[in-house]
């Protein structure tokens, strides 16, 4: 299927158009998570004691580990985008590959955490704290998975020789998306794991 007619043949404008599209999409994601953050605030104000006691039941070691994993993956994705800006497609693929791997590590750690929590009888329906915990980390986890899919697709595009220093829009956009997913986690960690 050939590329559909787009409004602009000027590649710079086409790039800006694509970026505006992604930023608009990220705005919708802010609202999506924002609704949950709002619910978190409402219930935290209402049940401070519950949040104090329940948050200690989370595994802060694994939570911190996951944070390191994601921040590192943001670094690798940024290096990947930088690589293709300089036309180094193979390097992009390597960095993106590592990023996908780190994403997988994140999800595995999450799996271990959740299993541990289920083992201790802590489920989404247990109380309002754990409803929030499972919903927010679950929704975030889905976004990590989707992000891994997008990054993998970019690797495929690069292997097909479609990316170069002249055109690397998919890399730029996927990198931005991955940074956003990382940023959401950086808010989740203190709110759920750290604040007493």
């Amino acid at each position: 299927m050939s590329a559909p007619p787009s409004g602009h043949s000027d590649p710079r404008v086409a790039f800006e158009t694509a970026k505006l599209g992604l930023w608009t999409f990220l705005a919708t994601e802010v609202l999506l998570f924002g609704a949950l953050f709002t619910a978190y605030t409402v219930f935290r104000v209402k049940y401070p004691a519950l949040f104090q006691s329940e948050h200690l039941k989370l595994n802060r070691v694994l939570g911190t580990l996951n944070t390191v994993v994601l921040i590192t993956s943001s670094l690798t994705v940024a290096l990947g985008v930088e690589a293709i800006r300089r036309g180094k497609a193979r390097l992009l693929e390597k960095y993106y590959g590592v990023t996908v791997l780190l994403g997988a590590v994140f999800l595995c750690v999450k799996y271990i955490e959740w299993t541990e929590e289920f083992h201790h009888g802590l489920y989404p329906g247990t109380n309002i704290f754990f409803s929030l915990y499972f919903m927010m980390t679950g929704l975030h986890g889905i976004h990590v998975l989707l992000g891994m899919g997008v990054l993998s697709y970019v690797i495929v595009l690069s292997r097909r020789g479609r990316l170069s220093e002249a055109w690397y829009t998919p890399a730029e956009l996927s990198g931005l998306y991955w940074h956003f997913v990382d940023l959401v986690w950086i808010y989740l960690l203190p709110l759920l794991y750290l604040i007493g």
């Binding site: 787009s6 705005a27 329906g125």
Partner: protein
Amino acid sequence: MAEEIRSGRGYLAERGWRSWAYTMDHKRIGVMYLYTTIAFFFVGGIFALLLRLELLSPQAMYFSNHTYNVFFTLHGAMMIFLFVIPAIPSGLGNFFIPLHIGARDVAFPRINLASYWVFVAGFLVVIGSLVSPMDTGWTFYTPYSAKTGAAVTTLSLGIFLIGMSSILTGLNFIVTIHKLRAPGMTWHRMPLFIWGMYATSIIQVVATPVVGVTFLLLAMERIFGVAFFDPAKGGDPVLFQHFFWFYSHPVVYVMILPAMGIISEVIPVFSRKPIFGYNAIAYSSLAIAFLGFLVWGHHMFTSAMSPLANAIFSFMTFFVAVPTAVKVFNWIATLYKGSITFEAPMLYALTFIFLFAVGGLTGPFLGALATDVQLHDTYFVVAHFHYTMMGGTVMGFFAGLHYWFPKMTGKMLNEKVARVAWALVFIGFNVAFFTMFIAGVRGMPRRYAEYLPKFHVENVISTIGAAILAAGIAVMFWNFLQGLRKGTPAPGNPWRALTLEWKTPPVPITENFHEIPVVTDWPYGYGKVEGPPA
């Protein structure tokens, strides 16, 4: 392109189902959305007629109360999510936004096609949920919606998908309007329909994710027992209402702003005068979009919010009325010293102003705290929102359909039949819905399958009105069918209008323009005008 021009069939030249299912032409996508949403208008309308049939009798007559309750839920949910919200933006908007701004297509044509198929997936899931239909009302308030045995979870998924379609459309339009305007088309040379669509798209993008989360949480409560809305676990059923209305109030502006955009196009054309107050109308769309996010609590004045919160929401609610009123004043001023003709598009545009004024002026009763406490959840509210959503948006939609029919199809409609349909619609609508104001003031609650005998007369009158309205709509759509089959061939610009879509052949080619136009003026230079406002 050559074949399209030669055959005169323009974008419709290529045939076969694949040329539609895989199309990336915004015009074809718009047409598909129009057919789909109009189909749901009919389905939702049949439910409405069944409701009005049952309401002829104070006691249950044709169906059980449970069946009635399912019918009003489906009427509301289908009309809102599957017709009123998508019809103008995804239907007419998709078709005409690129044409209006002098572009060949939207910014992301593939995402545009995806948005249609996500919409289809969504409504298929919604229809699937009908195996166990719900009676929660389109507002799905918890705890009832979390506890009831019907297929609420399935329906939640369907609405989530439809919401995604809405977000993709809004996102596409925002980027299109920012980036793809033809050379010379500054923001202040854009048609007012575009301003309206731009404001609409911002609302769609900001508000819809919240309703997505809302339905996700409802599904999670039903499946995993999460505690957000469950009082037994410390949750708050009213929190659902906050989340729900945070989207559902702005969404009424998603419904009305595109229709207002159409009115802003039609009035100048059929008055042969420039639009009065272009800047005011343009900025009022943005003001409405912004203020519309600050008033959701006015649906919840009796839901135990604090008196302070109630006061703030009431105050803000009155302010969103001001930019709306400003539009009405400007449209009427456009008529002053005009040269007015009353073809069907103009009849519907004037009808919009009239009926929307009724709807809008019954708003203060509901925005004012003391009277809202009396009238909330009564038929007064039902009348108010039908005057604004049907007397407003749907009339605007009809205006747009009649106005743009020649451009979409290359055929003209029968004007006489259109006027007969209009008369039936106008009379039927008022008879059907004005009586509901009275029933509401007298105390008749909404969502009542059975009612006390003292409300009998209003209900009978309302049903008669509904029948007349249905007849008018039937005549209108029969006219559309006749027009499609054997309408007289349309000229490229039958209304002598100045916006860019009318500069194309009677049926536009797929690429819209042979060459991208260079724009030097605003599109409202009717009559003796010395240039756009400063």
